[in-house]
């Protein structure tokens, strides 16, 4: 198919791929602007309509092959669809799209039959492809497997299938950043353009000065989505105000928080949105060089990004003299090796410079002296992905959504003990309750909700009873958590909060760069204290019990020193998971320390197993299965567990056919 910019409506059209004018994009989408002609305009709107698949000529099958989809088996599904198409001889276009966000429904396959709304099916494993597609193509899709249909005027709706906009997972979302993800073909720049893409960039280049762009973004109230929440427009203004022959714009795509993957989803599902945001930001601060620092563990995202950059370059949207504006922009993809600390901006810059990724003190701030000593602005993927719509729709459009201090939307990675997991994008100010219980469907299996962990290793927990707080930067902070990059891990009664704190501390102390003493040594000591708390009495030697008591008394004080003296954000926030669990779940700590009990049953070596002699029939099964040889007894007589030998694995309990083994 020829590209949007290749359209030759008539002889009068002088636009050529190799010769861009400032209005090339507008001319190709809403034009013609270079000459008169109603027919020529119709040619364009037909092309746009076709790219938006408003009235397709033939059926289209969409497969969600983001990393999450592939993990759920979308690769095999894709192959199976190819085979199905061959064997049935059906004429259907097959398109790979990114992730729509509903991870719990993957692999997701959409079917678009001409004249009918696009239908979305869940959990389409390879073996179910035939049945599902046969049904959909013959006009009687399986209603049980359908997630919903994308309603649109003029199309004949499928009966008995709900509008996807009313699906509980989607109905409360406000999909701005994720608008295209899972919907459009990420490898097609024309689809992005047909859906309004790059128009903001073109408009900014033509009609706005860099200072005006900074101003729009500042007035919009957009704040950094990567953790700190610094006002984006103000950051740009600082960099713009510096005079330097070279400036750098950096996109931080080093998404490192365990459980956060919104940046990956955006790049995999809608890479041009990021490129456009990055291009606008570069223009706004006066940078002609930009970097995308992305972790090498994201091979698909890197591939999609590179392909998208090539396409943008071909379309004259990056490179030299972009859209005849005199503006140049060169974007370089720099792969990181996956060190968590490289998400910290000064460490990230060191890494790009080819040095070891270690933070340095600020000031000087990157806006003054950043990459290679030049003024630099750094924003994360989600922040930049917000920019095109802000520039196109205006600051007021963006700031009309949200709370007093936090505007727009935020994408969260919802996971853990919740019915519906995935990426959810909600308006700032949405309550945690709405996200967890209404979008996420609450905790499964009737278990009691305990807490939600927000913001990953730098964040904290918010307990039941406070779920009515509205999501914004300040309110989360007041609860000892942070927005962070938007990880939301839901925990129920089966989760041990001490163990959760231990998990994050283990992560942090391994990922500390090792430069400053409080973070390097302090987090290690905190981990050791938590290990002591969660280690059973039988494994304690010498004065370890005393140390355990001492340790708990030191946790808070140590946390305070680490917070107040560490070099970078990683260290300064490192104690948060411990401090916040201590704040809300002190009783659990006390139970671990004093009673040596883990109520949730997670801390294995604190569990005490015993055999109820009344119920035990002496079948010997438990003794045979016990890996530690801790169960004694003669056949047909009640058995006994030697507590000193028991490792708390619970194998006996699973093996016992008479439910004679109890645990406390």
């Amino acid at each position: 198919m020829e590209g949007l910019l290749d359209i030759r409506c008539c002889d009068k059209c002088w636009h050529r791929r190799e010769r861009f004018c400032p209005e090339s994009l507008e001319c190709a989408t809403t034009g013609p602007l270079c000459h008169e002609g109603r027919e020529c305009g119709e040619i364009r709107s037909r092309a746009i309509s076709s790219l938006r698949r408003e009235s397709p000529m033939r059926p289209v099958i969409f497969v969600g092959t983001g990393t999450c989809g592939l993990g759920a088996g979308a690769g095999k599904t894709l192959e199976a669809i190819g085979r199905w198409r061959e064997s049935t001889g059906r004429d259907a276009e097959l398109i790979e799209v990114g992730c729509v966000g509903a991870c719990y429904l993957e692999p997701i396959v959409d079917v678009l039959i001409p004249g009918r709304p696009r239908l979305s099916f869940s959990s389409v494993s390879a073996d179910r492809v035939g049945t599902l597609l046969d049904g959909a193509f013959s006009g009687s899709p399986s209603k049980d497997d359908a997630i919903g249909q994308y309603m649109s005027q003029g199309l004949v709706p499928w009966e008995g299938v709900q509008d996807i906009a009313e699906h509980p997972f989607f109905s409360r979302q406000k999909r701005w950043v994720l608008a295209n993800c899972g919907i459009i073909d990420p490898s097609s720049i024309d689809e992005y353009i047909a859906n309004g893409g790059y128009r903001a960039y073109s408009m900014a280049l033509r009609t706005r000065t860099p200072a005006e762009v900074c101003d729009i973004v500042e007035r919009s109230g957009l704040r950094g989505r990567g953790g700190g929440g610094f006002p984006t427009g103000r950051k740009w203004k600082l960099a713009l105000a510096q005079s330097s022959d070279t400036k750098y714009m950096i996109c931080n795509a080093d998404e490192g928080d365990p459980g956060a993957f919104m940046d990956r989803a955006v790049i995999e599902g809608d890479p041009h949105r990021l490129i456009e945001g990055l291009a606008i930001a570069s223009y706004a601060i006066g940078a002609s060089h930009a970097y995308v620092y992305i972790r090498a563990e994201y091979p698909l995202a890197i591939r999609r990004l590179r392909e998208a950059m090539d396409a943008a370059r071909e379309h004259g949207l990056i490179g030299r003299n972009i859209l005849d504006s005199g503006i140049d922009l060169d974007i370089v993809v720099k792969m990181g090796a996956g060190a968590f600390v490289c998400g910290e901006e000064t460490a990230l810059m060191h890494s790009i410079e080819g040095r070891r990724g270690m933070p340095r003190p600020r000031p000087p701030y990157p806006a003054v002296s950043g990459l290679f000593g030049r003024p630099t602005a750094i924003n994360n993927v989600e922040t930049l992905a917000n920019v095109p719509d802000i520039v196109r729709n205006g600051a007021e459009w963006f700031s009309s959504l949200g709370t007093a201090g936090s505007k727009g939307t935020k994408v969260f990675a919802l996971s853990g003990k919740v019915l519906r997991t995935g990426l959810v994008e909600v308006a700032m100010g949405t309550t945690l309750n709405e996200i967890i219980n209404e979008i996420g469907g609450g905790t499964p299996d009737g278990k009691a909700f305990k807490a939600v962990q927000i913001g990953g290793p730098s964040g904290g927990c918010i307990p039941a009873g406070h779920l009515d707080i509205q999501i914004d930067y300040e309110s989360l902070k007041s609860f000892g958590a942070i927005m962070g990059s938007g990880g939301l891990v839901v925990m129920d009664e089966d989760n041990c909060m001490v163990d959760v704190a231990r998990f994050f501390m283990d992560f942090i102390q391994r990922e500390s760069c090792g430069k400053c003493i409080p973070c390097r040594e302090g987090t290690k000591r905190m981990l050791e204290i938590l290990n002591a708390i969660t280690t059973g009495r039988r494994e304690e030697k010498g004065s370890q019990a005393l140390e355990r008591f001492q340790g708990v008394m030191q946790l808070e004080q140590l946390g305070e020193v680490i917070r107040s003296t560490s070099l970078c954000g990683l260290g300064q926030t490192a104690p948060n998971p411990v401090l916040s669990t201590l704040r809300w779940f002190r009783d659990e700590y006390e139970a671990h320390v004093f009673d040596r009990k883990c109520k949730a049953g997670v801390c294995q070596s604190l569990l005490l197993y015993s055999i109820d002699p009344e119920k035990c029939r002496g079948c010997t099964l438990c003794a045979k299965k016990c890996p530690a040889g801790a169960i004694l007894g003669t056949p047909k007589a009640p058995h006994h567990i030697v507590p000193e030998r028991c490792v708390g694995c619970g194998t006996c309990r699973e093996a016992c056919p008479f439910a004679a083994i109890t645990v406390e």
Partner: protein, 573 residues
């Protein structure tokens, strides 16, 4: 100037300077473990944190700039508590073997633990077990004592331009190591020892030769000869509480005799010898169209630096051995035979401001018939330790002159200890060799002082000779890169590896301030000012040595004993 308030007192600060620099000028002391004067602050140790009104966190004073009206508390309870906790965290996994440690009594960590009143082990934890690196002939690394302040890494990279070591690993497994984590001996380390000088603990130290020297002294069959480098007499006094810049050459000579050394010679004598050979080499290269610029070869770390990083410039190096090795060669090659002692029965010791000299003495080029010319090298620090071991009270000792024939020196040989000294001495003699006349003024101010690179064009017999002096190998790099890029106006280059020259060598007393270095350098130039014998070619003992043993400068015997060759080194760079 701007006003800031520190501990409720108004002080003036310079715009743009850091809080630490303002505090130090006012005599307010906050502890540091990673701060190195003159380098970019790294902000690693967090010991220098202070409380600033309105800041939610403590602020590192080493990197935070002053702002007008800033209100600072340097010793608030939270700042002191934080510092104490940081020290306690370091001690939690630090080996408890202070009594056996080379830095016992001179360790910054010990000192701070004492100052902050650490009396109880509140934190304990296992450190990552790490092996000592004993592979280098010059430097011993004991990583378990390393507190990762990173000063050695920064000095090695930013001052010396070598980067033999860097951080490896993350989190509590972070450590300092070489490329591929192998021994220092197979790394690009040039043995300069600047890392030892900045190390706050016993993680880095020189490889000690005290035991070998004591054995030799106690061996009745050995004649133990010792030489001391030009800078030692103006630095050793500091180890005994005397004023920096005190010259105690004669007292040191007496002390060496008390310890049992049989002969005490002065390396400044062989420095004169070096000048004779090197000035001759320069004159010959200029006259015969040899390879220029000629580069000095006194500093063994510099030699390894060229062999490692600029092998294409090996041909520019003077083939002269260093004064240490010239002395070693003439002691065993001229003096011992004349005294009727078998060279095998001579144990030749040198006292050097330098760790790289230990490496140099072990170079195969510095042995004849498989026997080394120098048997043991002691640093200034090791000498001080031996003096203490022997209970010698320097303050109450009378000085004694050095032994003949290698104890007589000119002051030209003495100023070898300062950056620019070799050049100044060589110019004096080259001028005499070319014109047959002494220079009108022997003092060449352009070559003196602490500038990293000093250049001059010196008129000798109507011809301008372009000379350059660099100290600190980062500075040398700049000069060498300009040569590689095609610069041709230079005839003679002096390089000293350590910034300021041997007075700041890697074997000198640790923890020195710029003021102390200045005093040391001034002491050398005062000796030159007050000396009657100020040129190497007029040293009668040197002339006699040529007559009796070596022949003419550059002759066969002189060449065999006094010249050497170099090898390109293929190590990870």
């Amino acid at each position: 100037m701007i006003n800031i308030t520190v501990n409720d007192r108004q002080i003036e600060a310079r715009e743009g300077e850091t809080i630490l620099s303002a505090l130090r000028r006012e005599g307010i002391s906050v502890p540091t473990l990673c701060f190195v004067e003159g380098l970019q602050p790294s902000g690693a140790c967090r010991m220098c944190v202070v409380e600033i009104e309105g800041q939610n966190r403590l602020v590192p004073s080493c990197s935070f700039p002053v702002e007008p009206g800033m209100r600072i508390r340097t010793h608030s309870s939270s700042a002191i508590a934080a510092r104490k906790t940081i020290i306690e965290l370091l001690l939690a996994s630090h080996p408890d073997d202070c009594l056996y440690c080379v830095r016992n009594g001179g360790c910054d960590l010990q000192l701070l633990a004492q100052d902050l009143g650490v009396r109880q082990r509140r934190y304990r934890g296992a450190g990552t077990p790490q092996n000592m690196d004993l592979s280098s002939p010059a430097i011993v690394r004991e990583p378990s004592k390393c507190i990762l302040c990173g000063k050695c890494v920064r000095v090695c990279e930013e001052i010396q331009g070598v980067s033999a070591i860097d951080f490896i690993g993350r989190g509590s497994r972070a450590r300092i190591g070489t490329a591929f984590d192998e021994g220092l001996n197979v790394s690009s380390c040039i043995n300069c020892g600047q890392c030892i000088k900045v190390c706050p603990t016993g993680a880095l130290s020189e490889r000690s030769s005290i035991a070998a020297v004591l054995d030799a002294i106690n061996d009745p069959g050995k004649t133990v000869v010792v030489q001391h480098a030009p800078s030692i007499s103006v630095t050793i006094a500091e180890e005994f509480g005397m004023k920096p810049g005190s010259d105690i050459a004669d007292i040191m000579t007496a002390a060496l005799r008390r310890m049992g050394f049989d002969r005490v010679f002065d390396t400044a004598f062989s420095a004169d010898l070096t000048i004779m050979e090197e000035a001759g080499e320069l004159v010959s290269r200029i006259r015969n169209g040899g390879r220029l610029p000629l580069m000095t070869s006194c500093s063994p770390a510099w030699i390894k630096f060229v062999e490692t990083f600029y092998p294409s410039l090996i041909g520019n190096l003077s083939t002269c051995k260093s004064p240490q090795q010239m002395m070693g060669a003439v002691v065993k090659g001229c003096w011992a035979p004349r005294e009727g002692i078998s060279p095998d029965d001579v144990f030749s010791v040198s006292i050097m401001p330098c760790t790289a000299k230990k490496f140099e003495a072990e170079r195969p080029e510095m042995s004849r018939d498989g026997k080394a010319d120098i048997d043991a090298v002691l640093t200034t620090r090791e000498l001080a330790q031996m003096i203490r071991m022997f209970g010698l009270d320097l303050a109450n000792m009378k000085g004694e002159p050095a032994d003949t024939p290698f104890g007589e020196r000119s002051s030209a040989g003495k100023i070898f200890g300062a950056s620019g000294g070799v050049m100044e001495a060589a110019v004096r003699t080259a001028h005499f060799m070319i014109t047959g006349k002494e220079m009108d003024n022997l003092r060449i101010p352009a070559l003196r002082g602490f500038d990293g690179i000093k250049e001059a064009s010196i008129e000798v017999g109507g011809v301008g000779i372009g000379v350059a002096v660099a100290s600190g190998l980062g500075n040398a790099r700049k000069l060498l890169d300009s040569l590689v890029a095609g610069r041709t106006d230079l005839h003679f280059i002096e390089i000293m590896s350590c910034p300021g020259g041997c007075i700041a060598g890697g074997g000198q007393p640790t923890g020195t301030s710029p003021e102390v270095l200045k005093a040391r350098m001034q002491a050398l130039y005062n000796i030159d000012r007050d000396s009657a014998l100020r040129t190497s070619h007029s040293n009668p003992s040197v002339r006699r040595l040529y007559e009796e043993c070596l022949g003419e400068p550059g002759d066969h015997k002189a060449h065999e004993l006094l010249h050497t060759s170099y090898v390109a080194r293929d190590v990870p760079r």
